[in-house]
C-alpha cells in the first residue's frame, strides 16, 4: 500500500481545503497585483484575470467536494446556507440598484457584492448549525 493511501481521508481532505484556500489567497493577491499594474499590457492583465478565476474555481470545487463528502444532514445545512446566501445577495443587489437609481448612492463595487455573498454564506452556515444543533 502506498504511503498516501495510509493517510486518514479526513486529513487528506483538510489538506485539500487548506491548500485550496491558500491557492485562492495567493492567486487573488497575484491577480490583483497583475491587473492593477497600470503600465502592464492587456495580455498581462488578462493573464491576471485568468489566474484569479482559476484560483477561485479550484477553491469552489474543493469546497463542493468537502460538502458532498459529508452526511445528508450536513449537506442539508449547506444547501440551506447557499439558498440564504443567494437570496441575501439578490436582495442586496436589488436594494443597491434602487438606491443607485434613486440617487442615494453613487455606485457599488462588484467586490462588495461577492463579499456580501461570502459573509451571508458564512453566517447562514453558522445559523443553520446553531438551529439544528441547539
Amino acid at each position: 500500500m502506498r504511503q498516501d493511501e495510509k493517510r486518514d481521508p479526513g486529513l487528506r481532505l483538510l489538506g485539500l481545503i487548506f491548500g485550496a484556500v491558500a491557492l485562492w489567497g495567493a492567486s487573488y493577491v497575484t491577480a490583483s497585483r497583475m491587473i492593477n499594474h497600470s503600465s502592464a499590457s492587456a495580455k498581462f492583465r488578462a493573464a491576471g484575470v485568468v489566474i484569479g478565476v482559476l484560483g477561485f474555481l479550484f477553491w469552489q470545487l474543493a469546497t463542493a467536494k468537502l460538502i458532498l463528502l459529508h452526511d445528508e444532514f450536513t449537506r442539508r445545512i449547506h444547501l440551506i446556507a447557499l439558498a440564504i446566501a443567494f437570496a441575501a445577495t439578490w436582495l442586496f443587489v436589488f436594494t443597491t440598484d434602487l438606491l443607485q437609481r434613486a440617487g442615494f448612492i453613487h455606485f457599488v463595487l462588484l467586490r462588495t457584492i461577492w463579499l456580501v455573498m461570502l459573509a451571508t454564506w458564512g453566517l447562514a452556515i453558522w445559523g443553520g448549525e446553531w438551529y439544528y444543533r441547539r
Partner: protein, 66 residues
C-alpha cells in the same frame, strides 16, 4: 414526523455518538433527528432501522401535520 429513536437508543444503551458511528453520520445529525428538527432521507432512515434490527415504520411515524 415522530420517531422513537431516543427510546430505542436508550434500550440498546448506545450514545448518540455510537449510533452516529454505526449509521455513518455525525452525532449532531442524530441529535437533530431525535429532537424532531430534521427528518432523515430514506437511505439514512433504513440504515437506522437496520442498526436497530427493525423496520423503518417501527421507528418513524407520520403525524397528521406531515
Amino acid at each position: 414526523m415522530k420517531n422513537r429513536l431516543r427510546v430505542l437508543r436508550a434500550e440498546q444503551n448506545w450514545s448518540q455518538a455510537e449510533l452516529a458511528m454505526r449509521v455513518g453520520v455525525t452525532r449532531q445529525a442524530i441529535n437533530a433527528i431525535e429532537t424532531g428538527r430534521y427528518d432523515p432521507g430514506l437511505p439514512l432512515a433504513m440504515k437506522i432501522a437496520r442498526a436497530f434490527e427493525t423496520k423503518v415504520d417501527d421507528i418513524f411515524e407520520l403525524e397528521d401535520k406531515d
